[in-house]
């Protein structure tokens, strides 16, 4: 059963990779990378059960966190063009400009 699970995960990884390579829009690629990270987490979890090494599950958790940070950074760059201006800065800038 673990073998079937890992095969399914590998096939899904291939599909996500294909989307990341082909993806016409930026959001396709971001979604593909996010999905690929999720599949890596799952693959590590399946491997941990396959080889009876439960300490690998900690790594899977770290991957999930890192994946989240990376996707948030990418989305922040796409929507506002930089990392350091917060929404408050934008509102202040809009308020100052009419004067």
């Amino acid at each position: 059963m673990f073998i079937a699970a890992s095969l399914a995960i590998l096939i899904t990884m291939g599909l996500a990779l294909a989307r990341a390579l082909a993806g016409p829009t930026t959001y396709d690629r971001i979604a593909a990378v996010n999905m690929f990270g999720t599949k890596t987490v799952l693959l590590i979890a399946v491997l941990a059960f396959l080889s009876d090494r439960n300490d690998l599950l900690d790594i899977a958790l770290v991957y999930a966190l890192i994946n989240f940070i990376g996707v948030v950074a990418a989305l922040k760059l796409v929507t506002q063009g930089d990392f350091y201006s917060s929404d408050r800065d934008k509102r202040e800038a809009e308020k100052e400009e009419p004067e």
Binding site: F2, I3, S6, L7, L10, M13, G14, L17, A20, L21, G23, T26, R29, I30, A32, V33, F36, G37, T40, L43, I44, L47, L50, D55, L56, I59, V62, Y63, I66, N67, I69, G70, A73, A74, L77, G81, D82, F83, Y84, E96
Partner: protein, 196 residues
């Protein structure tokens, strides 16, 4: 059996990703593919029973360097011109191919002397490892041998490394900037500002 299949598939994905990175011109897509590349190599490290290396690869390769690359991309936005179209071709295309082939052959030749994966008679296992395994716990009181070597036996070395990494992090943060002071033109009393 399934381990070998997973290894081969992950390596094939790695090769596909590298070729795609080389052939693409969209910088944002390339950064996304870098993320996939390091997730794949981290998965390979896990399959090869090196979870600590995989930890580092995932944190640095997939996490921090993706963010740094995206930050760089944000700074050089709208300036991405393909420079290679105008760059003068100083050499023929087969020259780099020959150099790469020779270097690769030398590296493969170098792997012939390396002992097998997990070989108990390898020099790494017989030299000082035995001393650390026997004496690390009574001498330092740290249950994890790797931590004992890093933090106790080579404490000053680790201190130097941490200093280097800290300096590099500060330099990178200064370069990619954080909040910048607002430009002087936006201030209300421009006259005083110009005199100053």
């Amino acid at each position: 059996m399934i381990d070998i299949f997973i290894n081969v598939t992950l390596l094939a994905f790695l090769a596909i990703t590298s070729v795609a990175i080389v052939r693409m011109t969209n910088l944002f897509a390339i950064v996304m593919l870098y993320g996939i590349f390091s997730l794949l190599s981290a998965g390979l490290f896990v399959v090869m029973d090196a979870p600590d290396v995989a930890f580092t690869e995932a944190a640095v390769g997939a996490g921090i360097s993706t963010v740094l690359m995206l930050a760089t991309l944000a700074l050089i936005r709208n300036q991405q011109k393909p420079y290679y179209a105008e760059a003068p071709q100083a050499h023929r295309p087969w020259l780099p191919l020959i150099v790469v082939a020779i270097t690769g052959a030398a590296l493969v030749y170098g792997t012939w002397d390396i002992p097998g994966f997990g070989d108990p008679n390898a020099p790494a296992q017989t030299h000082v490892a035995r001393y650390y395994i026997e004496n690390a716990l009574p001498e330092t009181g740290v249950p994890n041998i790797v931590t004992a070597v890093l933090a106790s036996y080579r404490g000053f070395d680790t201190l130097g490394e941490v200093t280097v990494v800290f300096t590099a992090a500060v330099a990178v943060l200064l370069l990619i900037g954080g909040r910048r002071p607002k430009p002087a033109v936006k201030l209300k009393d421009k006259g005083e500002q110009d005199e100053a």
